[in-house]
Structure formats: structure tokens, C-alpha cells
């Protein structure tokens, strides 16, 4: 499979630009934690609290400091790897045939 070198460069540049944009846009989101609650907080837990029900901590409580960030990073990396691996298995089959 051959592709023009200039096209590859343009794609790499586009990817870098996308990454840069993501880095610029996304960091403010964690800082705005109180401004962007999940619907669990803004709807489910709020209504449940009005009816005398409160959420409990999970059995394995990873919501401690930055531990949750680490677990999410791990989950994202593993999930991304698995998705990428199987996508490659599925799409490369046609090329091999």
C-alpha cells in the first residue's frame, strides 16, 4: 500500500493540530468541576436526596485524590488498545485476502 509522502505529512500535521487543540480546550474542564456536574449529580442524586436516598461509596473506592484519574487513564489506555487491536484485525483481513 503506497501513499504520497506529502499526503502523509499533511495528515501528520493535521493530527498534531488536533492534539494541540485538544490540549488547549480540554484542560479547563477539570477546573470547572463544580460547573459541569454529571447528570448523576444534577438529576439522579438530587432527586433521590429529595426522597431520602443518598449515594453510597463504591465497594472498591477509587474516588480518592488522583487515584480515580489514574484508574481512568488505565481504563482509557486498555480500552483504546483493545479497540485499536480488534479494528486492525477486522480491517486488515480484507487486505490479506
Amino acid at each position: 500500500m503506497t501513499i504520497p509522502s506529502s499526503k502523509l505529512k499533511a495528515q501528520s500535521f493535521g493530527m498534531m493540530l488536533l492534539l494541540l487543540t485538544a490540549f488547549c480546550i480540554l484542560p479547563p474542564l477539570p477546573l470547572a468541576g463544580e460547573k459541569w456536574p454529571g447528570v448523576d449529580e444534577s438529576v439522579i442524586q438530587k432527586v433521590a436526596k429529595e426522597h431520602g436516598k443518598e449515594a453510597k461509596t463504591s465497594l472498591i473506592n477509587t474516588d480518592q485524590g488522583d487515584l480515580l484519574l489514574f484508574v481512568f487513564l488505565l481504563a482509557g489506555a486498555v480500552g483504546g488498545f483493545v479497540a485499536g487491536y480488534y479494528w486492525r484485525v477486522i480491517t486488515e483481513k480484507r487486505v490479506n485476502k
Partner: protein
């Protein structure tokens, strides 16, 4: 024009970039345990048991279907693996909705329902929800059954049925995928509203509480449903371009439609 081979190294580099971007998005958007499923301890025990008892036979049926299909078709397992990863990532990814000022997540069960069928899609969602409840403070073990019924069962069924009905009416692939994703997302939160209202209502009437919860979901889930529709349509069209034969084998397309 200078040309060179797209080597394994290039593919690997692209894969790593995609992986980093995914991880980066997940890492940067999570600020607290902002789960979007019903959290641990919200539902009373009898209701939690009821939803779990309803969900377990469906998971068992999904497992039976998976074993049966993967024994006859070897290409089925990679697709199930892909769908499991997609549902897991999508259903724990908080997406900010500026119009509502809150975050929520798409479900991913529409695409898995269409591609691998509702039974296996339920199994995939069950595994994703279990991992999220155990390690990501996302949902809960006691509310696993309720979350599975709303996201796994209703999401998969709504996506699958919408897609099938629209395709039988000769609606094109992208539009059918879009409607399937949209309705799967809305069906999920419609069911969550039923589960929550019936669980916490106590002596108060069901309908006013149900309407209140459903209306509260609308500002966030209305745009997210549209996003889920677009994602589902995009994935179906991409797979159609890459592997139309696979879509035929999964009975998503008729042989004459895969040109």
C-alpha cells in the same frame, strides 16, 4: 511525486497517537466521580434485586449466543472484542453539554446492538458496567441490574429495532444508523427515569416523579442523543466502506447491498 510504503511503523505510530488521544480525553475530562449511571445505594434493595433478577437471564442468553455464533464464525470474536471496547470507552466518557451546563455520556449500545445483535450487546454492556462499577466509581454493584436494563437491554433493543425497521423501509444506511443511535440513547434515559421513579417514590404517585426526572434529563440527553446518532451513523458507514462483507455476514446488509 515521491511515494513510500505505509509501513507497520506508520500504522503503529497512528495507533499510539489515537491511544494517547483517547487516554488524554478520558484523563482530562474526568474531574470527580461524575458517574452517569444510577449510583450505588440509590435504589432500595428490593428494586435492586428485581432489576438484577431481570437482567441475569438475558446476560446468560447473551453468553449462550456468543458461544454458539463464535463456534461457527471465527470472524465474530474480533467484532465482539471491538464492540466491548467501544461500549466500555463510550459509556464512561463524560461529555460536557454547554446548553445544560452538565456532563453525560453516550451509551454505545446502539452500534453494538446493530452489529452483533441485541443479545450479545447486552452481554457486552454487562461486562462494561461491571468493570465501571468495580473500579471506576461509575454506577454501582447493587444498581448493576437496573443500569444494565436501561443501557444494555433497552439501548440495544431500541437501536437494533429502529435500524431494522428503517432499513426495511429502504432508508439509507447513515440515516438508519443515526436514528438508531438517537433512539437508543433516549430509550436508555427514559428507562432510567422509570427505574429511578419507581425505586424512590415511596408513597408519592409515580407519574409526577417520573415526568420530573425525565424532564430534568432532557437538556443534557437531547443533544447527546444527537451526538450518539451521529457517532453510530459514522461507525456504520466507516465499517461499510472498510468491510461490507462483514456487514453482510452480520446480517446488517443484504448481499446485493454490499457493492
Amino acid at each position: 511525486m515521491q511515494k513510500h510504503r505505509l509501513s507497520q511503523a506508520h500504522i503503529r505510530k497512528a495507533g499510539v497517537t489515537l491511544l494517547l488521544l483517547t487516554a488524554d480525553c478520558l484523563l482530562l475530562t474526568v474531574s470527580d466521580a461524575h458517574a452517569m449511571h444510577i449510583s450505588e445505594g440509590i435504589l432500595p434493595l428490593p428494586w435492586a434485586v428485581f432489576w438484577s433478577l431481570l437482567a441475569v437471564p438475558l446476560v446468560a442468553y447473551g453468553l449462550y449466543k456468543l458461544r454458539k455464533l463464535s463456534a461457527t464464525d471465527l470472524s465474530f470474536k474480533p467484532l465482539v472484542g471491538l464492540m466491548a471496547a467501544v461500549v466500555f470507552i463510550i459509556s464512561c466518557m463524560p461529555i460536557p453539554v454547554p446548553t445544560a451546563g452538565s456532563c453525560s455520556h453516550p451509551c454505545g449500545t446502539a452500534i453494538s446492538g446493530i452489529l452483533v445483535g441485541p443479545a450479545i450487546s447486552i452481554l457486552v454492556a454487562a461486562v462494561a458496567l461491571l468493570i465501571q462499577a468495580l473500579f471506576l466509581a461509575h454506577g454501582g454493584l447493587s444498581t448493576w441490574g437496573a443500569n444494565l436494563i436501561s443501557m444494555g437491554v433497552m439501548g440495544s433493543l431500541a437501536g437494533f429495532l429502529t435500524f431494522k425497521v428503517l432499513r426495511s423501509m429502504k432508508i439509507n444506511l447513515a440515516l438508519s444508523g443515526f436514528a438508531a443511535g438517537l433512539l437508543a440513547d433516549w430509550a436508555t434515559y427514559f428507562t432510567t427515569s422509570i427505574e429511578l421513579a419507581s425505586g424512590i417514590k415511596g408513597n408519592s404517585p409515580f407519574m409526577p416523579l417520573f415526568s420530573k426526572i425525565l424532564i430534568a434529563f432532557i437538556p443534557t440527553q437531547l443533544p447527546l442523543g444527537i451526538l450518539e446518532g451521529a457517532m453510530t451513523a459514522g461507525m456504520i458507514v466507516l465499517l461499510y466502506k472498510k468491510r461490507p462483507d462483514l456487514l453482510v455476514r452480520m446480517k446488517v446488509l443484504k448481499p446485493e447491498e454490499a457493492v
